[in-house]
């Protein structure tokens, strides 16, 4: 009996493994995507696996962004790390500081001999993930940037011309008042408040979010988010919150549900909200560039990205790294990138993918889908708008969220809240500096 069971198991496992699998090198890829995005990633992986016979990429979903990063870290500590790990932009500094745990992408590409031209990538996207001397550390995967979504029907219902110029916060301020007066209960709502109204706000106005080039130039960086420009903007938003012109719905993208249901007139959210809004909105909507304060800083500079990049982990065989190189090269290829950009609303990571999308007439058929691309690439990034590289940044965002809630609730002035955020955030930055000495 025992022999029979063992035999049966052996037979079953043999039957289940695909023929020739032994010859293929397996590459583990851990990502954080579910739903539609998960399906699209699976399709990319299948396409790669079908396109060659030397390597098999095995994609596994490991939870949300934070959970995926934690899974990668825990796996590394246990010596079980994947080859490729998806890490959100907030975790960039954590990964960069872990020199012994990661293998920079430029190194992987050089060793593997796969096609790779770091100049092909869009500067504003790639800048977030390169060293100060331009070496690419991780491969940008999904990147988006905040834009302004407009519910045209709600504008009209409140008696406001939906084509009103909303390019500056000065104009938006006036429109919010009209919307409120016109009976709109939810004139403005936002997602990802720290990312949009502080991080991107600072880059867009070319003012520092943190010292040392937003952390690019050293771990001894300090937050600078309590500057004049940021405080003035948050003070104004606090007034809007008090007057019921800005409705706070939560720290993440909770406001998206309100906007998609047609309950709100204006919505500041990632350009990647496109797929969801297009699928659900039963009203006419517009995508507009993120507003800026006329006359503050050098606005409009460029906005920065959010999203994730792919990190290659240390501790694998040269042959496997060769496969990783091939896979990353495949992901950056123009048709794959252009398709990804059009399917998801994420930015194309290469200039060629953007051009291909334009030539295919996608932007003409889907007006507004190029707003994010233009907004990010119109100007060459400055030291203030290249991105952010701060340790413990996920937690610092939590602190910023808490302090912003103090403003919206009317418990604190914008200056008090941001001074406190700086003090608390700096303490975390110092600990990060100490941990990564």
């Amino acid at each position: 009996m025992k022999k029979f069971v063992i035999g049966a198991i052996a037979a079953a496992t043999t039957a289940m493994s695909p023929i020739g699998a032994m010859a293929q090198t397996e590459i583990q890829f851990w990502h954080a995507f579910t739903g539609r995005l998960g399906e699209l990633v699976a399709a990319q992986v299948d396409q790669f696996n079908g396109s060659q016979s030397d390597y098999t990429v095995v994609a596994s979903h490991k939870g949300n962004y934070s959970e995926t990063l934690n899974a990668g870290i825990a796996a590394f500590r246990a010596g079980e790390q994947p080859h490729v790990l998806m890490v959100f932009e907030v975790g960039t500094a954590t990964m960069m500081a872990a020199g012994g745990a990661i293998k920079p992408v430029y190194e992987v590409m050089a060793e593997s001999g796969a096609a790779f031209d770091s100049d092909a990538y869009i500067g504003a996207v790639k800048g977030y993930y390169t060293t100060t001397d331009g070496q690419m550390l991780s491969l940008p995967f999904n990147s988006s940037t905040p834009v302004l979504w407009v519910n045209r029907d709600a504008m009209e219902a409140a008696g406001v011309d939906p084509d009103t110029d909303l390019s500056t916060w000065q104009n938006v301020d006036a429109v919010l008042e009209q919307l409120k007066a016109g009976g709109e209960d939810c004139p403005l709502v936002t997602a990802w408040q720290s990312w949009i109204h502080l991080e991107n706000f600072s880059a867009y106005h070319d003012v520092p979010f943190a010292t040392k080039d937003n952390g690019f130039a050293g771990l001894d960086t300090e937050l600078a988010l309590n500057g004049e420009a940021q405080v003035a903007h948050l003070t104004k938003m606090g007034e809007w919150a008090k007057d019921g012109e800005f409705i706070y719905t939560g720290r993440r993208n909770e406001g998206g549900a309100n906007f998609r249901a047609g309950e709100c007139a204006l919505f500041t959210e990632s350009s990647a909200g496109y797929a969801g809004i297009k699928a659900e909105a039963e009203f006419a909507f517009d995508v507009r560039p993120l507003p800026y304060w006329e006359g503050v800083g050098n606005a409009p500079q460029n906005t920065i990205i959010g999203g994730a990049s792919l990190w290659v982990m240390q501790g694998h065989e040269a042959e496997e790294y060769k496969g990783v190189g091939e896979f990353l090269s495949f992901l950056s290829s123009t048709p794959v990138q252009a398709q990804w950009h059009q399917d998801t609303g994420y930015l194309p990571i290469t200039v060629a993918a953007g051009d291909a999308t334009k030539e295919a007439g996608f932007y003409d058929e889907n007006p507004g889908t190029d707003v994010a691309v233009i907004q990010m690439t119109a100007k060459e990034p400055t030291a203030n708008s290249k991105g952010l590289r701060l340790g413990s940044f996920d937690q610092i965002r939590g602190i910023i969220d808490e302090e912003l809630e103090g403003i919206w609730a009317g418990d604190k002035t914008a200056q008090e809240a941001m001074d406190s955020a700086k003090e608390r955030g700096d303490a975390l930055l110092r600990r990060f500096e100490q941990a990564n000495k």
Partner: protein, 293 residues
């Protein structure tokens, strides 16, 4: 006289207690020891290097006014959860104990919520009180009350307390109900003959006789509110708004798994261990004196 079993050799008794000792060692002493060890360092997330800082992590924590405030939040939260989960449970148990018909159905229905995992309970309550689509917040809105736990710290605290206590009511109910069945009928009947009414009988006879159970539940519920409510907080408020629902155990998670600051996280675990140890000692020292077995 006490009954004792005496073993002739050492081997058999050692074997008999070995499973318990091994389980405690593997799942408690080893991790607790690791936490104490790690609390003396600032490690990097990947475990590539460690900086010895002595008691630096504790110094860093205790000088943080938000961490100190978290003790108060935890105190308020635990007291509320314990009260909200025990008082209704006792009331329901007393009522169920009086039932003659349908007691079985009633009992079974009351036990159900205990089967719901804290994180799921959190999501359920979050849906009911969602500021946009929540049923309860909609009714409150009709009554003219603008429910907004996203910005109002007291409402957020109320919501996490109710969501944490809800499933616990079932657990407590079960114990109270069993204890009530054990109260001798003759004592109650004697009191009834002497003219004591229901509530009088309850407060002078039943409640004191329930005290061992009440004490046990007090300890268990305090420990529950300290450690196991994490899922509820995580799903409903993530510790917000501002820091109004950041209890100690949530901060351990946030610093360790969001901030990857394992040194601070370990130090917090050690502090939490000491706090709960002290609380339990205090409970046994002072409250237990009033318990009649």
């Amino acid at each position: 006289m006490e009954k004792r079993v005496t073993f002739r050799g050492w081997l058999l008794p050692l074997c008999l207690i070995a499973p318990q000792v091994i389980i405690s060692a593997v799942f408690f002493f080893y991790p607790a020891g690791q936490a104490i060890w790690q609390s003396l360092f600032i490690p990097d997330p990947f475990g590539l290097s460690m900086q010895y800082v002595g008691l630096g992590n504790f110094e860093y924590l205790l000088s943080d006014k938000f961490y100190r405030a978290s003790f108060v939040t935890t105190g308020v939260f635990s007291i509320l959860v314990t009260l909200v989960s025990m008082i209704p449970a006792l009331f329901l148990a007393v009522m169920a104990d009086r039932l003659i018909k349908g007691a079985g159905v009633y009992r079974t229905l009351l036990i159900w919520p205990y089967a719901v995992a804290p994180a799921v309970a959190g999501v359920l309550w979050l849906f009911m009180f969602n500021t946009r689509v929540g049923v309860v917040s909609w009714y409150l809105g009709n009554l003219g009350y603008d429910w907004n736990h996203v910005l109002n710290g007291n409402e957020a605290m109320g919501l996490v307390v109710v969501a944490s206590a809800w499933g616990r009511i079932s657990y407590n109910f079960l114990f109270f109900f069993a204890a009530l069945q054990a109260v001798p009928r003759s004592v109650i009947e004697a009191a009834a003959i002497d003219g004591a009414r229901f509530w009088r009988r309850f407060f002078t006879i039943v409640l004191p006789l329930l005290s061992p159970t009440t004490f046990f539940l007090l300890v268990v519920n305090v420990v529950y509110s300290f450690f196991e409510t994490f899922g509820v907080i995580h799903t409903i408020t993530s510790g917000g708004p501002q820091q109004s629902t950041t209890i100690l155990v949530y901060k351990v998670f946030a610093d360790g798994f969001v901030g990857q600051d394992l040194g601070s996280s370990s130090a917090q675990s050690v502090i939490l261990l000491i706090v709960v140890g002290l609380l339990t000692v205090l409970q046994f020292k002072f409250v237990e004196k009033r318990v009649h077995y």
